[in-house]
Structure formats: structure tokens, C-alpha cells
Amino acid sequence: MNAQTIKVDYLARVEGEGGLHVRVKDDRVVDVKLKIFEPPRFFEAFLRGRQYSEAPDITARICGICPVAYQMSSVHAMERAFGVIIPQPLRELRRLLYCGEWIESHVLHAAMLHAPDFLGYPDAIVMAKDHPDVVRKALQLKKIGNDIVNLVGGREIHPINVRVGGFYRTPTRREIRQLKERLLVGRDLAVEFARFVAGLPFPEFRQDYEFVALRHPDEYPFNEGRLASNRGLDIDIADYENHFIEEHVIHSTALHSRLKDRGAYHVGPLARYNLNFDRLPPAVQALARELGFEPPLTNPFQTIAARALETLYACEEALRIIDSYQMPDSPSVPVQPRAATGWGCTEAPRGILYHRYTLDETGAILEARIVPPTSQNQKSIESDLWHFVEQALDFPIDRLTWHCEQVVRNYDPCISCSVHFLKLNVERE
């Protein structure tokens, strides 16, 4: 093989618009670009001048796949700025909402968008012809996730019930109990799906990543925790911008994030799983060991296993919350604006989603900054492509191209999220 180019003009089965470009010369990779051409939408710019209370609904529109994550990071940032304390029952309800989003988003990606790659199908609908049971059960499980978001959030895409301080309306005990039967089925489906995933053929490919995720003293992380890594990072989320920087590169309308001094890092299910395995319930840990997914997992193709096990965790956690649910005294607590800065960082299905807002005394937004997970993973995606192509150069070109797409899809990249207007203060080199 002499000079050769692998080009995928329009990546399929990712959320948003992107392509990839790998250049190879004399058995060496000489260039890799994950091209993102999703048009910019300027969220941080038009958030300025809006009220703090509008941020959850406006930022949800950055992404139709993970709107709950945007709502959660924004409400936590506002509440931190204004010193609002959320009572335990409302906090539990937010975790329940997040369980719903993880289930629907993880199953959508793992079963409908990613599994077809491992089995050589162009999509889940064609896969359904040979594996009708897998696809039908996955759709059933995904729907259970959407049922949770529907009840707690009002609707599955762009929920309407989340507000700074809590919710507009909290479900009755009776409504919550109605989820239980379905979640018991969901838990069984999740176990079955994890077993299916364990039987997939994983290409041999290990990488030495710096994994970054939230870490909480007692819980597997959704909404709160410190930012931790396997290389000693352990910071309050308010220190995020002292440790991570973003760069604007010509081939992408999404900014590239990196850790100062260290470079690429990896966020998402694999990072959460490896850093927080000890926070998973014993049943999930036991299944993981039985299926051979003992952490640390360093093969990015196995992110689908972390997604499947997190789906099971989300079912277990939702059942725990439902069993102890008491309707809160009030759907929300009072919020008193003040001039302040607030930070929010929560675990979107694809990884940490960071928000910062500076507000004036009336609660108007003076400045906003949002760093979605896909921007943070872009450098790791490019690095994976670089290493993967070098070890797979003897593959036929169409097979290599498909594998490269799969390397990108390992991250469940949400390109709509990663492209929006980000304020860049300094470009440090």
C-alpha cells in the first residue's frame, strides 16, 4: 500500500453531521481528521441576557438525544450560584429522571446504532430480520427508559417539567408505582442484553487513556461529585477551567478539549465504569465479572459493554428510588437570584457535560459556557483512529473503512451537541 486515503464523507449512525479523513503513506498514518461540519448554532451567545430560569429549556435544545443532561447541568449551576439546597426527595426524583435518559440513550446507541457494526449489518432494521428478538426486546427496554422520562419530565424529548429549584409538578406515589412492573421486566431485558453484548466479537485493540468522570462518595455518578481521573485528577467542578482547555481547529465546527499539560482524555461510559466500578450494586458487579468485563476495560470497542451494564444499573437504581418514593412536600424550593457565578457538571450518557454561568442580581445571564462530552472526546477519537489504522493496514479498504466508522461510533458521538458557540478566552500553546 502506498499513499491511500480513507474517506467517509458522512458518518452514519451518529447524532449530527460529521465525516472522517485518514491519510496513510507507506504503511504509516500521516493524518487523521474527524471532520465536524454541523453548522454552529451560537447557544452561549444568545443565552446572554436571558433569565436564569430559561436556561434549562433553552440548553435542552442543544441536543434532542440527551436533553435531560443539559437541563440537569444548567439547574445545578444556577442552584450553586444562588446557594439553593435541593431536598433529598427532589434530588432522588432527578436521579430517576436521569436513569430514564441513560436507559433510552444507551439502548438506542448500543442496540440500534452500534450492535449492527459488530455483526456486519448496515442498521438495526436489517439486523432485525436475522435477530428479531434482540431488536424487539431492545426497543421494549428503550421504551421503558422513555416511560420514566415521560412521567417525570412530561415528554421524552425536551422534557418540560424541570426547573431551577426542582420541578413544576411531582408524580404521585401511585403514578411512580406504575413504573415498577415495567422496570422489573426492564431489568431482566437489560441482563439479557448484557449477555448478548458479551457474545459480540471485539476487535483486539487496547489504549492507554486518561479516563475522566465524576466521583461521588456513595453513588454511581449522575448529578454530583468531584472530577476524578485514573492519573490523579481530583478537583471540584469549579476548577474545571483551570485544568481543561479548548482549542479551535480548522476542520471542525466543534472545539477540541484537552487536559492542560497532558492532552487527550476520555469521558463517557468506559471512564465512569472504570473509575466507579466499586459504586455499582453487587448484582451488577457480579454479572460484569461473570461476563468477563472486569475493570479496567481499555478496549474502546467494549464501551458497548459499559453501556449495557450501566443500563442495568439504571434499571436497578430506578427500582430503588421507586420503592422508597414519597411525594415531596412541594415540587420546588424557592430560588432567590443574586450576582454570582455557578458551575454544573453532570454525567450525560456520553460523558461529563460542564456548564458555567455568570449572573447579575436580577438573575439575568451575563456569560455562559458549555462544554459537551463529544468536544472532550474528539482528541481521543482521532488518536484511536490513528493507532487503529496503523495496526489494521492489511484489511481490505472497505472493511477498514467500516472499522474506522466503528471506532468513531464507540464514543456515541453527539455531534449536534459538540457544535455550538463556545467562548474562548485564551489560546494557550
Partner: protein, 262 residues
Amino acid sequence: MAREHPPKLAVWKFASCDGCQLSLLDCEDELLEVAGAVEIAYFPEATRAVIRGPYDISLVEGSITTDHDAKRIQQIRKQSRFLVTIGACATAGGIQALRNFQDVDEFISTVYATPAYISALDKSTPIADHVFVDFQLRGCPINKYQLIEVISAYLNGRKPNVPTYSVCMECKQRGAVCVMVADGKPCLGPVTQAGCGALCPAYHRPCFGCYGPMETPNTASLSAWWKQLGVSDGEIVRAFRSFNAYSEAFRKESEAHERSDH
């Protein structure tokens, strides 16, 4: 209608959040049936297989914000027999149309490190500003059952049954208490098109206009009522400027109050 081949369905994306096309994948109970009734010929969010046009039904999500996309929509129109826009971005320019009220160059130069890398038109515009559209399905996001209704109407050669009356009608049908009359909360329901099933009032929250203006809305009258509730001009401007800010009725109403705000 007898057909030799199932109709070819294509799904296209412009500037958007992907949520409206996700509605199709969120039809968990109906997806495989829909996939049996049509040939999914182009839907990159779901499949890497591509079948060449022309297409019988094109669903178009997103607004036009770049020169490249303004050209691309022309090509899509040429290849499509029946073109349906889905969602607030495609039908009204979306939340990103908030740029239309400001100077986009200022946006770019203040916030992008290297403005020369970015190409963006100064306005985010709906698809119908560029090409003929056969049917517009509103909502931020769209209602997935309305989407199935539109596809099914096309398959059966009839007009989609999608009401253009206001959210108030759905509130009454649902038996929800009026949040404006009972609680004095400023609600956009009286001027907003139905489709959500009066979701927010049922959650004790005033409507915030996801489905855009209803047919012949009286926005000026609603604003007058809001003022009696003590709502300021600035708040009225913001209420009309969200996901459907650039739809004609909402845009004119917000501009009227922007002027009186100064």
C-alpha cells in the same frame, strides 16, 4: 393505493438538535411496522446504507444557516416528490434564529477564536423560505404520533389530520385547569398551535410556545392580558423569542414590545 414498490423515505438534517428525527426512532412500538411499509432509503442517523433518489417522502429537520445548506436544500427538493418539514427549526428557523435579531458577525468575532474558520449566514431561516414545502409539521420537538399520521396520510393518499387550533382547545379536552385564569400565570397557550396535548398546563406550568403560532393568532390581545398580570415588555419579548422566534406572528409581536421597551 396499490403500489409495486414501497415508497422511498429519506430523512435530511440541517441546523438542529436531532430530536425531531429521533422521534421516528422513539416510535418503539411502530418503528418496525413503519420500516415495513416504506423503504428507508436515506436516514444517516439510523443506517449507513444509502439508496439513491428520487425519494417519495423527504422529512426535513433543521434550519438553513449556511450557504452550503442553502444549495443542498435545492438538490433535496429536486429529488423529492413530497417534502415535509419537521420541527420548529425547519418550520420557523428554530432557537438558532435568535441570531436574526442581532449582528452575527459580532457573535462570531467575540466568541470564536478564529472567525475565518467559520462560515455562517447572518440569518437562520425556515426551509419554506428556500423551496416549496408540501406539509409543515410543527413542534419543538414534534409529536411522534403526528409524524406517523403524516406518513400514514401520505401512504394512503389523503391530507394529514393535524389541527391548527390553539393549545387552549387541548387544555379543555384534557380537563386541565386554566393556569392563566386560575393562577394568573402568563401562558402562551391561547396563541400557540395545539399538538402537545396541553402538556405544560397539565404540569401546572404555563405554555411556552413549542408549537409556534396557531392559525390567525391574536398576539396583541394576549400581550395586553399579560400586561394586566404585571408582565413587563422585556418579558413579553423573551416569551415570544424562543424556539419559534422567527415565525411571522411571534416575531412581529416581540418587535412591537422591543420598541416600547426603549
